[in-house]
């Protein structure tokens, strides 16, 4: 049974690597499978100022790397591969990857979430050529141009602010009449001179041709009126979708599609845990993901101990 891991973690964000750290420190044979590199969504965040212990803040990518190093220091293994299938119902669970199958007594799902698309025609065709999901990645390509930010949460507000420093003009489109973002994020985009707000509005269609991206057709949700708004690019920040494709039909999900697991991180299947952004929870942050990882490892250890008896 040596080749069977005590725990396999799917996903190398803060939730995954904290589970790995706690499990490895508890003496469990632990592997974490990550498709790209440590950090998950955190690695795409320029600066993290709300994870305690880093008084000057820390780059998301650097924090991910540190979490990985820390877990590996205690013997957790990182396997770089893409998980293609999960069989979670048996006592010994199987994790299929692009590079072969692995078996484990417990599985921690730490797959996180992905940006939610606008869901309008042509979005796929305009990907990277007018439609973007990462302002800090692609904003530079719109220097001195006109861009649109869609959304009203913290990401949208932060994106609008970042882009307002780079671009000639930023048009912020939100379906309500006020930002949902935390107060801290509010003032700056509202004070920036080159940010224009379009409240109660949503993108109805994309306008583009072979040559270039032209803009959008914007619908006023109160009057139903549709008007053309020109812009060189659109940054979409309307929330995220949990990455649950691998567990459809196996794990119970909440109505929004997140994996149902309470504060113990236990799912409906014995020995299967969900941590971080993929779990049904109130607050999705680096620190709450990390907390989930610790809790999941604790209950996984308890689960293994009970099965030994």
């Amino acid at each position: 049974m040596d080749h069977i891991y005590d725990m396999i973690i799917v996903g190398g964000g803060p939730g995954g690597y904290t589970a790995a750290l706690y499990a490895a420190r508890a003496g469990m044979k632990t592997a974490l499978i990550e498709k790209l590199s440590a950090g998950g969504q955190m690695a795409l965040t320029e600066q993290i100022d709300n994870y305690p212990g880093f008084e000057e803040g820390i780059e998301g990518y650097a924090l991910g790397f540190k979490m990985q190093q820390q877990a590996e220091r205690f013997g957790a293994e990182t396997l770089y591969s893409e998980v293609t299938g999960l069989q979670l119902k048996e006592a010994i669970k199987t994790v299929q990857t692009a590079d072969g199958s692995y078996q484990a007594k417990t599985v921690v799902l730490a797959t996180g979430a992905n940006p939610r698309p606008l869901g309008v025609a042509g979005e796929q065709a305009c990907l990277g050529r007018g439609i973007h999901y990462c302002a800090s990645c692609d904003g530079m390509f719109y220097k001195d141009k006109t861009v649109m930010v869609v959304g009203g949460g913290n990401t949208a507000a932060a994106d609008a602010l970042l882009l307002s420093r780079l671009c000639r003009k930023v048009i912020l489109v939100h379906r309500r009449d006020t930002l949902r973002a935390t107060k801290l994020y509010h003032s700056s985009p509202e004070q920036a001179e080159n940010v224009e707000f379009r409240w109660n509005s949503a993108v109805d269609a994309l306008r583009f041709d072979e040559e270039a991206f032209r803009g959008v057709a914007l619908k006023n949700l109160q009057t139903g009126e549709v008007t053309n708004v020109d812009c060189d690019g659109v940054f979409v920040a309307i929330g995220r979708n949990p990455a649950t494709e691998l567990v459809q039909g196996q794990l119970e999900l909440d109505p929004s599609g997140y994996v149902l697991a309470d504060e113990t991180c236990r799912t409906n299947l014995p020995g299967v845990f969900a941590v971080g952004d993929v779990r049904s929870k109130a607050l999705r942050q680096v620190i709450t993901a990390a907390a989930d990882g610790a809790v999941a490892a604790f209950y996984a250890e308890e689960y293994l101990a009970e099965r030994m008896e």
Binding site: A43, L44, T45, Y61, Y80, E82, G128
Partner: protein
């Protein structure tokens, strides 16, 4: 080590290459580029049958414009001086190799 491609060595190292070329357009401030960077280096170390190059879009704005790069990372495969495949965004190693 992946080659550093500039507008000065582009023709020699990329267009005139007898092997297929995998180019990674990146920048230091781009999170997904940093995620994909180590994978690109790994491929460069493993594959002698191809040329792997990195183009810093901040320093090589002409090349970035020539390839109409507007999102990074962008990975481009060039064979016999022609683009045969390209993909935007960070992706796992197997998917990058599949581009070739």
């Amino acid at each position: 080590m992946a080659l550093i491609i500039t507008k000065d060595n582009f023709e020699q190292k990329v267009l005139k290459s007898t092997k297929p070329v995998l180019l990674d357009f990146w920048a230091s401030w781009c999170g997904p580029c940093r995620m994909v960077g180590p994978i690109i280096e790994e491929i460069a170390a493993e594959r002698e049958d191809i040329v792997v190059g990195k183009v810093n879009v901040d320093e090589e704005q002409e090349l970035a414009a020539q390839f109409r790069i507007s999102s990074i990372p962008t990975l481009v495969v060039i064979k016999d001086g022609k683009i045969t495949n390209q993909a935007m965004g960070a992706r796992p190693k197997a998917q990058i190799l599949a581009l070739l």
